[in-house]
Symmetry: C2
Subunit: 436 residues, 2 copies
């Protein structure tokens, strides 16, 4: 992927597209809730109408990719079965059912007699989304953008180019049928444009990268546009000394193996020294029987863990059936290790000791701090947000799993009757600051 890691200046063609999406985004930002829902339903209808063409395009992409000897994992992500397509279409309709993120009143108060302040959510403007392979992402991202009144510039993997083009054609037909400017969804197909996008800070308001750690890090470091996303997901689970061992084993196993390629799967298990012998005696065969390779510090190797860890292991996101294990003196050492190596995504503790649980959750600075449950719950759908736009590991909001609220911002609306500040300085008027 190194060859796309350059950020060229946007060419005229890209600037023209950026200008058109900017205009179209003004229109969608003013569209009523019912209009946005109508557009989503029509987008879904046209995806259905064009299903045959979309599946054929995907077949073409698949054949080409096969010829290029692309990895099996990539091929399987690229493959759009009829079931996957229809699930995606259903997803577009479901996004229409989510409650409107726009025009939500966050603050309403009287500042003074006849002077009313409102803070309401509004669309951000234009999103730039860079993602790899999965063609179903085009449907999902586009529908979230329309639901929240934003324009979206999409750049998918080149291996899915035919599929993505066919999907966007259907989405455009749906938008036009709804009477909206189709340019609000814009698909970039050239590699050069996808990186030049990072220089479009005058047109794009948020970049959402979905891809490898390497890609996300590169984007974070090479754009002035705010980035919603995370590079690493190095999550920890700490097994304290006062635990129900059955629960600890079950949660540790789920946190690792339920879907090891997910960012919310754990990479490191920290174990209190007092419980380590008894815990590992049962954990080692359990993980072994689930094909998990265990890598441990000296003490855990002495207790039966097969491979010895190097410093690098504590900062590696395996995204695979590999787990590093460290035996710690106490809660303090566990917290220190996490503060040092965690990517501030999600970290958990298993303990029956409530005061230890509270200390852990208060002192660990990650976006998610979990007690007696699997780290795999760190997810927008599981949190009940109805959708997940991304997971952010930055310190400032939005952080953690981000739903549709990550695609809106807010504005202050102040309505008066000729009110002036001089009347307040001179004592002729005064502030009431009454919540309405």
């Amino acid at each position: 992927m190194a060859d796309i890691f350059e950020v060229p200046e946007p060419g005229n063609d890209l600037l023209e597209k950026a200008h058109r999406i900017h205009l179209a985004s003004k229109e969608i930002s003013q569209a009523e809730n019912q209009m946005r829902i109508k557009a989503l339903n029509l987008m879904a209808d046209y995806l259905e109408k064009n299903a045959k063409e979309i599946l054929e395009a995907n077949h073409e992409d698949y054949l080409r990719a096969e010829r290029k000897n692309i990895s099996k994992a990539l091929l399987s992500r690229l493959k759009l079965s009829k079931e996957k397509l229809y699930a995606g279409i259903e997803g577009v309709r479901k996004v229409g059912e989510l409650s409107d993120p726009v025009n939500q009143i966050q603050i309403k108060k009287e500042l003074s007699n006849g002077l009313i302040l409102e803070r309401k959510t509004v669309p951000i403007g234009v999103l730039g989304v860079i993602f790899e392979s999965r063609p179903d992402a085009v449907m999902q991202i586009s529908s979230l953008a329309i639901r929240s009144g934003n324009g979206v510039m999409l750049k998918g993997g080149s291996e899915a180019s035919f599929t993505n083009t066919a999907i966007v054609l259907a989405l455009h037909e749906g938008l036009q049928q709804a009477g909206l400017d189709k340019n609000v969804i814009c698909l970039l197909t050239s590699r050069k444009d996808s990186m030049a996008m990072l220089n479009l800070e005058k047109y794009l308001n948020l970049i959402i990268p979905r891809g490898s750690n390497e890609l996300v890090k590169f984007i974070q470091q090479n754009t002035k546009i705010p980035v919603l996303g995370h590079a690493d997901g190095i999550c920890h689970l700490f097994i304290d000394n006062e635990v129900n061992i059955d629960m600890a084993l079950s949660v540790a196993l789920d946190s690792k193996v339920q879907y090891p390629a997910a960012c919310n799967a754990i990479e490191t298990l920290l174990i209190h020294k007092d419980i380590a012998p008894g815990f590992l005696k049962r954990a080692i065969p359990l993980f072994n029987s689930n094909d998990v390779k265990l890598i441990g510090d000296k003490k855990s190797v002495e207790l039966g863990v097969e491979f010895e860890a190097s410093l690098e292991d504590w900062e590696t996101e395996y995204l695979d059936l590999v787990l590093s294990i460290k035996i710690v003196e106490d809660l303090d050492e566990a917290i220190d290790h996490i503060q040092k190596f965690s990517s501030k995504h999600t970290d958990g503790i298993i303990t029956e000791n409530i005061s230890n649980a509270n200390r852990f959750m208060n002192e660990v600075g990650s976006a998610g701090v979990f007690h007696n449950c699997s780290t795999r719950f760190a997810d927008g759908f599981r949190y009940g947000f109805g959708a997940e736009v991304g997971i952010s590991t930055q310190m400032l909001p939005p952080r953690g799993p981000v739903g549709l609220e990550g695609l809106v911002t807010y504005k202050y609306f102040l309505k008066g009757q000729g009110n002036i500040v001089d009347d307040f300085s001179s004592g002729r008027a005064f502030f009431t600051h009454k919540d309405l």
Copy 2:
């Protein structure tokens, strides 16, 4: 100021300070509300106790500055009178009376039986604040940081160095008396350190610059740390054709002259062509009698405005008694001009036509959109936030005037009873997503 515009690598001394403030910020982040209030009251007490030394230090700074032929405006900002000092001390106590921004529950819901999700506000960590002259800012910023459970690294103007040092000494005595680590407030005194701070992304979580546009722009472009602030404040007021002329004149005058050096004062007045002759006939003498220099487009010069504007005028923040005037065809041209030149701070409309007011407020993308009131209301205190940390002109939250909520972030706390995700995939458990 060009000579400080370099960003050196932090030296060992600065790294040592950063490490100490990092540790101290962990302590204050866990301090209970009552402890933080106690600390603020003791900080105020010690400022009172040390008032004589602080005023003497300020006298020393003042004498040195006078010898250096510093501008009158700067000298007046540097001067800390007894009244100003005591108002500052009173301000520290008042910050203690603001409601606690930390530990506020934003979301609380049951995800499934026995699995409870909470989203609570937490301190950000360590703030870096760079400001000029005004020594009272040290008291204000430090108290806001302590109120919100954050550490703060301060860099004030070198001309106020004795005063700032004396104030921080008193604040440290107050913190120690409260039993807290005094290192949570750290004053940098060397020029080199103030810029090297921008490279402390491992230790600082937010930079708040308070100073010239030039300084703010430089900081925004030269740090990976998020910046809360704004460079320009180019605000507009549009006088529509259906207006009460008395109201329009009063609001326009207030928006310009009530405090022209403020970022929320207007720089440009846009006037609907139909009302321009009648409005300007009264506005020109009114602004003249208030010493406002008027600069206009061709049409407004024909109607009596003295100086003709160049393109540069539409993008200049005068921060002075200067106002540019443009006559527009209609609401559309006014909105277009604002979208092009506004710094997205605050823009207002004067009109009796509600549908025009709504269109203006919906389509103008600024953080504040005002109808029939002065742009000077765009301010954290006037909005009733109790404090203002800064005003942000970025698109994403926080934007507009930012109160204490800008100094906290949030964390997700998930408490379970051994819940695992596999039970949900296999249908043994299901999500309830019930608000609590």
